[in-house]
Symmetry: C2
DNA sequence: CTGAAAGCGCTTACAG
DNA sequence: CTGAAAGCGCTTACAG
């Protein structure tokens, strides 16, 4: 692979001068520039980003950690992060963690060793020490779609799950439901707990307590993927949705609007979050500081056809 | 951030010795090793992978390019690649290309500059020059789930689309269909063309030609995501699936088995492909050669409920 | 406008 | 068993 010295030699200039034309900007005589450019074209030279990073002490790479890449909500978040990062010249290391502490820790180590400039966390296991580990090493981190009030250094792009759950419960109770359950989440996601708590608080305000899954006439799931899987399990067992039991999701993935699903859910804007997270993390990293910023969005309830009148 | 010299100084040894204990293996006196290990623990030292890569002339990173990360089939491929790569100490740069030539080229440049050791291509625009560009720079590349017979240096993990389409057409014709169409693909995917051609050949063998989308009683889509979207569009316009029109997909994503979808489709094993692709690409890269290998899998037809008897 | 030199943080022969 | 030295491919003051 050709290096900068190769092109310098070929153009008959010093390495510094070759570097100046490669990076652009610096003042170089027109004739010299042309000679170097010809050498670059002839050799097909591409700068070595690794050497650059070493010198610059910045990898121009960020990590993004999601619990489940096969969930379209997270896939969309990653796509959005990638797009925004790419536009700024950053590469992205996307990691599917399954909220497994060992995976999270291994990932943390890998991201630290590769000296990522920042990491965006789309979901993480409850009680994880990863954010602190990263922060302590001077890596900018933003939490996207979950909250973690404990560390001031964090960037947080959050949505108001308590309010969303309040709206969900209000909707369901308005349909006459009294036995409502929250489906246990598949992964030990931090945000899942928060939603369950918001759900239980909203019930408590109405003097209700959570029902068991089998007794419930309405079930709210931690996210759309789980809601959709739940509908399948319910219908396999002969229950009709929403006639016998109503189901509500969270995220509003594209599939939720499909005519055969028509899921009642809470809309969460992954694309916006991803873009914003990149802005925050790259901005902070460039200024050599932590993000120290939080913002709260509110997510609207989208009523479709998986929620209906309570039976009887 | 603490460096190797810091820990060496702290342990009172040379940098070489510190390096020897960090990497393990090399012969170091027990007492010395302990002193260095203490220094590592005390400083929280993590080796700088960038410096390592520069010296080793290997980034220990691979790229994976997919047309659409929000399609669970590709997400699964990426997850599988990540897992296999991670186990070998490789990082993965996942890129969602949308089969846009500009994105593919920009990605190619980024992957070359970052000196990835290999790239796995899960889908690419028809006629793309990306594989050749990469190959010419000595980067190992494997095509997963598509074929590209032109370049011997490639690794190819392919499935037999012609045979699969033959089975699809046989199934549909067996149900009495005579007017069959292939839905135009959303992205300009290389493999899409191949499926369409396989489909048309299978028709031709029966003396049939492709029908228009509106006249067709059976439509085969390029993949499950498109088949599922197609069902929605059809049913919105008042057609019943499969009563009025049968729909067949490709991939067998988890959702295809959902009770409300029950899509007839061709099963393709993304997880296996991802794992195999990593083996091939890492193996070749380590030996400093191209992959030069191709294998063909055959994908079974999974008959569910979106395909039925031809109307009338 | 151009170039010599130092240095980013490692690894790797090579002496001792 | 340990250490001094060179070098991976760049960038960046600094002279000239």
């Amino acid at each position: 692979m050709t290096t900068l010295v190769d092109v310098a030699r070929r153009a008959g200039v010093s390495q510094s001068t070759a570097s100046n034309v490669v990076r652009g900007g610096a003042l170089v005589a027109e004739a010299t520039r042309e000679r170097v450019e010809r050498a670059i074209a002839e050799t097909g030279y591409h700068p070595n980003a690794i050497a650059r990073s070493l010198k610059a002490r910045s990898s121009k790479a960020i990590g993004v950690l999601v619990p489940d890449l096969t969930n379209p909500f997270y896939a969309e978040l990653v796509v959005s992060v990638e797009r925004a990062a790419g536009a700024l010249g950053y590469a992205v290391l996307a990691v599917h963690s399954e909220c497994l502490p060992e995976t999270e820790n291994a990932t943390g180590r890998a991201l630290i060793e590769r000296r990522v400039d920042g990491v965006i966390i789309g979901g993480i296991s409850v009680g994880s020490s990863l954010p602190k580990t990263l922060l302590d090493r001077g890596i900018a981190v933003v939490l996207a779609s979950l909250g973690e009030p404990t560390d001031q250094r964090l960037g947080v792009i959050d949505h108001d799950d308590a309010k969303a759950m309040e709206a969900v419960v209000e909707h369901l109770c308005g349909l006459g439901h009294r036995r409502l359950a929250f489906a246990p989440q598949a992964l030990r996601e931090n945000s899942g707990e928060r939603r369950r708590i918001g759900f239980e608080n909203a019930l408590a305000q109405r003097g209700l307590t959570p029902a068991g899954l089998d007794a419930a006439t309405a079930i709210v799931a931690h996210n759309d993927m789980q809601a959709i899987a739940l509908i399948d399990r319910l219908e396999e067992r002969g229950k009709r949705v929403p006639h016998d039991v109503s189901v509500v999701g969270y995220d509003d993935i594209p599939l939720a609007a499909h005519g055969r699903i028509r899921l009642t859910t809470v809309r969460s804007d992954a694309t916006h979050m991803g873009r914003r997270a990149v802005e925050l993390v790259v901005g902070a990293s460039r200024e050599g500081r932590h993000v120290c910023w939080r913002e709260l969005h509110s997510n609207p309830l989208i009523i479709r056809s998986t929620s209906g009148k309570a039976p009887r």
